[in-house]
Symmetry: C2
Subunit: 224 residues, 2 copies
């Protein structure tokens, strides 16, 4: 049996887009695994999920040689590899800064409560909110406790869900507290020091993608 190398510990930077694609591949493999499929070729994977076969091979080859000639990929094994590459082989602890509508929605977002993530708490400045819980049971804490909580609860990722005008201040506080990865939902440009990873979520891209398909007039789920 060939082609089962460990992921390379490559120090070359990998683009945001590669990381997102790995995440998409993992989703597809979860679906295939749930359907009981044992193996799949890059070609079949690409066709079934409307991806690019050459891109799949290139993305995966960067981390090792997972394909087996004449077989393709072993679904369960590739899933396990992708989870390890994505750092999901351990629990990733997430704190949400801002307990407004967006923060509360994210705290109870089903996708954040599985897949190796754990929501530690929500943080806010508003007295009336502190001590309460989200509908799903996530505690709202005083933001002044955040710094201590980062150490105590081993927070890995801070999600920023505060109004745009407060975002940079909150990000600065998170960085000072030792946070190295930030998922930001506020619009506008935020600054972080070197060594801290900032990911901006822009939901407009999704709407534009739909607008694109309406403009082209070629409906159909996922395909077109």
């Amino acid at each position: 049996m060939t082609g089962r190398n460990k992921p390379r510990s490559n120090t070359e930077p990998v683009s945001e887009l590669t990381a997102s694609r790995l995440s998409v591949y993992l989703r597809c493999l979860n679906t295939l695994d749930a359907a009981g499929l044992k193996t799949i070729s890059s070609k079949a994977l690409a066709e079934q999920f409307h991806l690019n076969a050459a891109q799949i091979r290139k993305d995966l080859a960067y981390f090792g040689e997972f394909g087996v000639r004449g077989v393709g990929y072993y679904v369960k094994e590739l899933k396990r590899h992708l989870r390890a590459i994505l750092g999901l082989d351990r629990t990733v602890r997430v704190a949400i800064l801002g307990a407004g509508n967006l923060g509360l929605a994210l705290a109870d977002y089903p996708g954040f409560r599985q897949e190796g993530f754990s929501i530690v708490a929500l943080y806010d400045t508003e007295r009336t909110k502190i001590g309460r819980k989200s509908r799903g049971g996530v505690r709202i804490c005083d933001i002044s406790e955040f710094r201590k909580s980062v150490k105590k609860d081993h927070v890995d990722i801070a999600v920023v869900a505060v109004p745009a005008e407060s975002a940079q201040g909150v990000v600065n506080a998170a960085v000072q507290a030792g946070i190295r990865a930030i998922l930001n939902f506020s619009p506008g440009t935020l600054k972080v020091p070197p060594g801290v990873k900032l990911k901006n979520v822009d939901l407009t891209v999704s709407l534009e993608s739909l607008s694109f398909f309406l403009a082209r007039g070629d409906g159909d789920e996922e395909t077109a």
Copy 2:
């Protein structure tokens, strides 16, 4: 002056990923335009925003020949072309189904209130919510009025922000009302008939992308 063809009316399907990339290119061009840049090469665009130059050329070439030899792309012109390709040269009208935390957050999401989009209204079944407004002033209407509103207000896109167990029912109602493009935030698999475009937003992908960078230990904003 060469290379200024109109977008091809190509009927071949274009992948979700292409549409998202066009949207990302538009973001980058907006930034460059705001900074006063007149022209940019695919190579410089790729380097500045950590994209792939060959992929940029390929994606754009699909819609026409926008580059000019020895010059690259005219920023304003390419922006205009991309907006037209993405269907943003007219106002796209959006209705949000579900006025819970997520729906309310989306109604006031700054990215949904610019860029050629207009939020028509929120819709919900809960009596106590109907007649109220989001903090940003978007009206909450009775979901029973939705069908009529689709025609009257020319709704193009329905955003589904209801709990998972209600999602398929809401999607069915939206399709019956004549909606052809749906942005879904509920987890789980939804069915739509042919000719209707369903886009699922999975915020877990963003968190996984950060987890990936933490696992690799190479922070740095956007680059790594």
